[in-house]
């Protein structure tokens, strides 16, 4: 029932090297058209022919957040030639496809981080226009419609994404950070309140959903005072991700001890927990969580670093990646990097 929780020791330097390895994998996968390597099967030395625009935006976001601006800018080219302008907003949506809130939320987050890490405002207007697309998708109750239809030129009612709502909340929170006083925080709080109180029932989930993007949004809003509902939500998310980390630390992948996770799965729980750690650092109502959160974040960082393909691996498509069933995908590196960037602030 309770296998030992194995948390490999990890240092700040090891985390920094792991981040370099993962972002290196993403940048090495850059193609001439501005897209990145999507997926790779090691045993067959085979690159995936699939692509996903939301994950592309996620890679941009993590590269900018990690300070890999040139690698992000190279991928931003793919976005800039696939923008759809309508009324006062712009959305990233390749021709003939519906604009998706999640992809645009991550793009707004990417541009916000580019602004934060470089101080360069050249994409401020685009970030605001994407923010206005997200605001147009956001309903009065805080729910976020996932798609805007190219065919009908209207927002699609009744369709909500598993993660796009949280991604939108995070985008609003980051836009508020880079453009304070413009009202983005009002949208962010509305979406977070919906996530905390109504989303699960309204969107037909039988269990309460955890959302690491919501954790990130809370972390960005924490300096400006969270509501009691948001603090309670943060506590619930901390518990969920903490349980996931404990569970993961108990499972080694051996025949009698299976259930290991992909880099994306490991990363998501690390991202969620480290974002809530930022909330706890800034909000005294969560001060009791600081110690336990540090312990869990150190644990998941050690596990994540330990499962990365080492920098000494001769295969450039494997080096720095996380494999599951011998397959790795761009979001494995994206989420694992996000978790390690968060852990970097905890592990000294």
């Amino acid at each position: 029932v309770v296998p030992a929780e194995r948390c490999p020791a990890v240092t700040h330097d090891q985390i920094a090297h792991a981040i370099d390895g993962a972002t290196g994998w993403l940048v090495r996968g850059l193609r001439p058209d501005g897209r990145y390597l999507y997926g790779y099967t090691r045993s067959r030395d085979e690159m995936s022919s699939e692509y996903n625009e939301t994950r592309h935006a996620g890679v941009l976001y993590i590269l900018y957040r990690a300070g890999k601006t040139s690698g992000g800018d190279a991928g931003l080219r793919h976005v800039l030639v696939n923008l759809h302008r309508h009324d006062d907003w712009t959305a990233f949506a390749p021709a003939g496809t519906d604009a998706e809130a999640g992809a645009n939320g991550l793009l707004a987050a990417a541009l916000a981080y580019r602004r934060i890490t470089t101080g360069d405002g050249r994409y401020d207007a685009l970030a605001r226009r994407i923010g206005r697309f997200l605001a147009a998708q956001t309903q009065p109750d805080g729910s976020v419609r996932q798609y805007w239809s190219d065919a009908t030129q209207r927002s699609v009612p009744g369709q909500f994404g598993t993660f796009s709502t949280g991604e939108t909340a995070y985008a609003f929170a980051l836009l508020n950070r880079v453009f304070p006083g413009e009202g983005w925080d009002r949208h962010a709080h509305a979406v977070l309140h919906y996530l905390a109180t109504r989303r699960d029932r309204a969107e037909g989930y039988s269990t309460r959903q955890a959302d690491h993007w919501a954790s990130y949004a809370l972390s960005q809003l924490a300096p400006h005072r969270l509501s009691d509902v948001e603090v309670a939500y943060a506590r619930r998310l901390a518990g969920y991700f903490g349980y996931e980390i404990r569970f993961e630390s108990q499972h080694t992948g051996r025949p009698l001890n299976i259930f290991t996770e992909s880099g994306a799965d490991l990363g998501v729980v690390g991202e969620g927990e480290s974002a809530i750690r930022l909330v706890a650092a800034r909000d005294a109502r969560l001060a009791d969580l600081r110690g336990p959160l540090d312990e869990r974040i150190g644990c998941i960082a050690g596990i994540t670093v330990g499962r990365q393909v080492p920098a000494s691996d001769p295969n450039p498509r494997a080096r720095g990646a996380w494999f599951f069933d011998d397959y790795t995908q761009m979001d494995d590196q994206q989420h694992a990097t996000g978790a390690l960037l968060g852990a970097e602030q905890v592990v000294r």
């Binding site: 029932v1 309770v2 929780e5 903490g242 869990r296």
Partner: protein, 165 residues
């Protein structure tokens, strides 16, 4: 964790009703009854005192053990609810049970030893009248009610174990 919950969980797991059924069935001498009670108290106190070190040594966090203890209480509670009667063995076995030891370890890891000990006292006191038990039917009713309390405590512990960081 509230003190009232800790008291209730110990009351359910020590299960004076099941002890009463064992008294009716085996008629232990006062010395055997007292020895069983003392042994149970000693084991539970030792579990509380050593809980932190033991879980550290096993690399198990208190919330994970809380979840495990909750499962043990749930299963034991269900078993007693369905079949509250004693099983063959020394009289002390009716008190020194896996669920009681698991609960003591969990409370010992989560709470101060003093608080956990204080929560244990009402359960031990509640067991004392069981020595005077003479009727099987009332013992069985009490055992089932306390088993239900154990089930509730087990589920609650399990949920807290999942929801905690």
């Amino acid at each position: 964790m509230s003190f009232a919950f800790m008291v209730a969980a110990f009351l359910g797991t020590a299960n004076a009703g099941r002890v009463a059924l064992a008294v009716v069935a085996t008629r232990p001498s006062p010395r055997v009854f007292a020895a069983a009670l003392a042994a149970a108290a000693a084991v539970v106190v030792a579990a509380m005192v050593l809980a932190g070190s033991l879980l550290d040594w096993l690399s198990i966090s208190p919330p994970s053990f809380r979840l495990a203890a909750g499962i043990v209480l749930l299963v034991a509670g269900l078993r007693t609810f369905v079949w509250p009667f004693e099983t063959p063995g020394p009289f002390a076995a009716v008190l020194i049970t896996p669920e009681l030891v698991a609960l003591a370890l969990s409370f010992g890891a989560d709470e101060s030893t003093g608080r956990a000990l204080a929560a244990l006292v009402p359960a031990l006191v509640a067991v004392l009248p069981a020595y005077r038990a003479r009727r099987r039917d009332t013992g069985a009713i009490a055992a089932r009610f306390l088993a239900a309390l154990t089930i509730v405590a087990g589920v609650t512990l399990g949920v807290w174990g999942i929801r905690d960081v």
